[in-house]
Symmetry: C2
Subunit: 138 residues, 2 copies
DNA sequence: CTCAATCTGGATTAAACTTGTCCTGAATAG
DNA sequence: CTATTCAGGACAAGTTTAATCCAGATTGAG
């Protein structure tokens, strides 16, 4: 039961790299090489963050990507949700109407409680925290 | 990002039904009908719990299934792990050697911490709790 | 202005996973 | 014996994951 998919892992690595080089424009190729991520797959991932407004792209020669927000303002939850959507324990809890069994579901409250705890945990970690951790490890 | 797969949901419903009818032998057909689960799929699921020792099967006419343990001794985590394996945030954290990037992973500690919290939460809910909840709802 | 570097976006794809279905066989109560 | 019920392997459609490929748009530098 792996909760974080590979593309989300790649996204976290890529955005941590951008945070480590804040205020610089970095090419997808550089990120791909340093983070050992397939370049063309990474480009698709970065496009999602450009659309979400978390990353700025700079086209043309000498172009690349840079963070559009401060590292301390981007949380792990933000990144996970761009890639995998909202944290949901059970698909019953997705959508407006939910499942017809909800009234007799003995776990519904627990699932919602867990979702909130997981989301809270992930929103407590920012890219700045990851940068600090990376610098401490080095 | 749905964490609980459908077969795990079915398993939870089925075992809760068995707990509700503790010390009785119940057929897969009866569970399937009451819980709105495809019968043949449910049978596969129940077989897994027989192998894991949580459920006893009774073959032949008038046969069926019954819990092999007390409802208060079977946790949601037990059930989830039978269906989906151990709770792991990132596949990097699976296996003995893990991934080669682990030493420079700024999230490893947080992932492990989250895994433990999720597992702890799920092991705090037993089938008896679900039975109590079901009786309260009714 | 041209060209190389670089991002954009759509199409395609292989493998794995999910969610089942089908069928034969084995056990057993009555 | 035989109807009922579980056991287990094979099969399969649909979706997701994890890429790859390619034609096109943009832009900095020479």
């Amino acid at each position: 039961m792996e909760i974080i998919k590979r593309h989300t892992d790649y996204a976290l690595r890529a955005l941590a790299y951008l945070a480590l080089h804040a205020n610089q424009v970095v090419t997808a190729g550089e990120i791909a090489e340093s983070q050992e991520v397939p370049l063309e797959f990474l480009q698709k991932i970065l496009q999602r963050f450009v659309k979400s407004g978390m990353v700025k792209s700079h086209r043309g020669a000498q172009g690349g990507f840079s963070l559009a927000q401060e590292p301390a303002e981007i949380t792990v939850l933000n990144i996970v949700e761009v890639m995998q959507g909202p944290v949901v324990m059970n698909r019953c809890l997705l959508g407006k109407n939910g499942c017809p069994r909800a009234p007799k579901c003995p776990l519904k409250k627990s699932w919602i409680d867990m979702e909130e705890k997981i989301a809270a945990y992930m929103s407590g970690i920012t890219l700045q925290d990851l940068v600090d951790e990376l610098r401490a490890i080095k």
